[in-house]
Symmetry: C2
Subunit: 235 residues, 2 copies
DNA sequence: TGTACATCAGTGAACGCGCGTTCACTGATGTAC
DNA sequence: TGTACATCAGTGAACGCGCGTTCACTGATGTAC
């Protein structure tokens, strides 16, 4: 039995403690927002002294970056696995997205909330963001493929038959076709590019307003609004 | 000449200094985000000592609340004046909204960004938020009115003629018709309710993603995407 | 116009706090022979 | 199995910092007679 891939007890303890630190960090964020995150407070809550945490994280910044990375990672996984489910379509993705967001609003806001001026995410996080878009593109392309001739989210404009490029979205799609860095190595056609983007932006509009509490007191059920938009996006 | 409505020099000085404090506060927020706002730092930047500011604001919290109020106020004014312009429609409102957001991203995020857990806006701010929705409802109703029989943002669903309630949005509109606390004293019909909400949520999705930098590196022009969505919303 | 008083802006010292982070050190755990 | 050493987790003290906020006080500005 080789030692390769086997964790020593010390290593196991390390990873376990790192995980617990992160858990406490999430609790703190949930209680006071990301700016209120404090290493000393985490240590105190774990019953240890402040400097002890420096065995596990180089400092506060590294911990926060790690949390952001984990947040992106979990979203990318949620989206990917939703997209991989048999018979999955954009509606399934939409539901997965909302479930992920509601599951932990502060995690959502760590990804999509107010940016900290001057902060730039490391490259590997940008790569995860690209992964998410790729999943959306996959699903959008699949849907566009099965609905060829009946652009699901586009009404045929005046004088535009199936396959026409003079519909109401023609201009946007033409622009996207020429500016698709983000989809450079993805075969999705322009209609799918537009569809993925619109899916993403509309749902985030709903989610960020809902999670920030801007619907409270208005009376309606945010889920109904979400379903309504999803219906428009997936027909 | 009565003294009524006339400011004494001292009063003028007071209001002027309050204004300058707020200006510096906005600069700080732009530089480091709202959590980084510090009374002492503002005082230092103005060449005075920290405690001096307590002549003008009861404390940090009051200053921040005041900034939030001003942000809401300026948005409400921007939306209202756009709606009041002759020949104005939802497209005009949409452009005004984007201009307002781009004018000062941090101000935008003070209103629509990550909520601070536990913070509750005072009632007068909630009232301004309602004012904004009322402007949207006005515009949406006007538009729905002029386009009666051709629900501008709704494709006629299968078997749904003009005036039908079996279209793709029927379910959502029915729900909104029964849950319209936010539009309790507004005569807008269900279709206008839906339209106003969708207008609001879609555009905020675009704006928050754009301002937070989630489009950077993707290649396309956010304005084109915004226009594309606006076209869909106003036809 | 001039004097006496009240109002109010701003200062400087101080308080208590919690923060991130470093450093030298103790004590336990693991490793090598 | 037992001893000698290396590794590493965690502590406690300390540093320097900036924060919000209070308080007693000075000095300038305005008001009343």
């Amino acid at each position: 039995m080789t030692a390769v891939g086997k964790e020593t007890p010390r290593e196991r303890y390390r990873t376990q403690l790192r995980a617990e630190i992160k858990e406490r960090a999430w609790e703190q964020i949930a209680a006071a927002g990301a700016p209120g995150l404090s290493l000393n407070a985490i240590a105190k809550q774990m019953g240890m002294s402040g400097p002890a945490l420096y065995r596990y994280f180089a400092g506060r910044d590294e911990l926060i970056t790690e949390l952001i990375r984990d947040a992106y990672r979990s979203l990318a996984d949620a989206v990917r696995s939703a997209a991989a489910a048999p018979g999955s379509d954009l509606a399934v993705l939409g539901h997965a997205l909302r479930a992920w967001a509601l599951d932990d609003p502060q995690r959502y806001f760590l990804v999509y909330g107010t940016p900290v001026p001057g902060y730039h995410a490391p490259d590997d996080i940008t790569a995860i963001a690209a992964e998410i878009m790729a999943s959306l593109l996959d699903a959008a392309q699949r849907m566009t493929g099965t609905a060829v001739g009946t652009p699901a989210d586009g009404r045929p404009g005046p004088g535009s038959g199936p396959g026409s490029d003079t519909g109401p979205d023609a201009r946007l799609e033409a622009h996207l076709a020429e500016h698709r860095q983000w989809a450079a190595d993805h075969p999705a056609p322009p209609a799918a590019l537009r569809r993925a983007l619109v899916f993403w932006t509309r749902l985030h509009g709903l989610l960020s307003l809902e999670l920030a509490g801007h619907f409270t007191g208005m009376g309606f059920d945010p889920a109904e609004l979400y379903e309504g938009e999803l219906r428009r996006l997936t027909r």
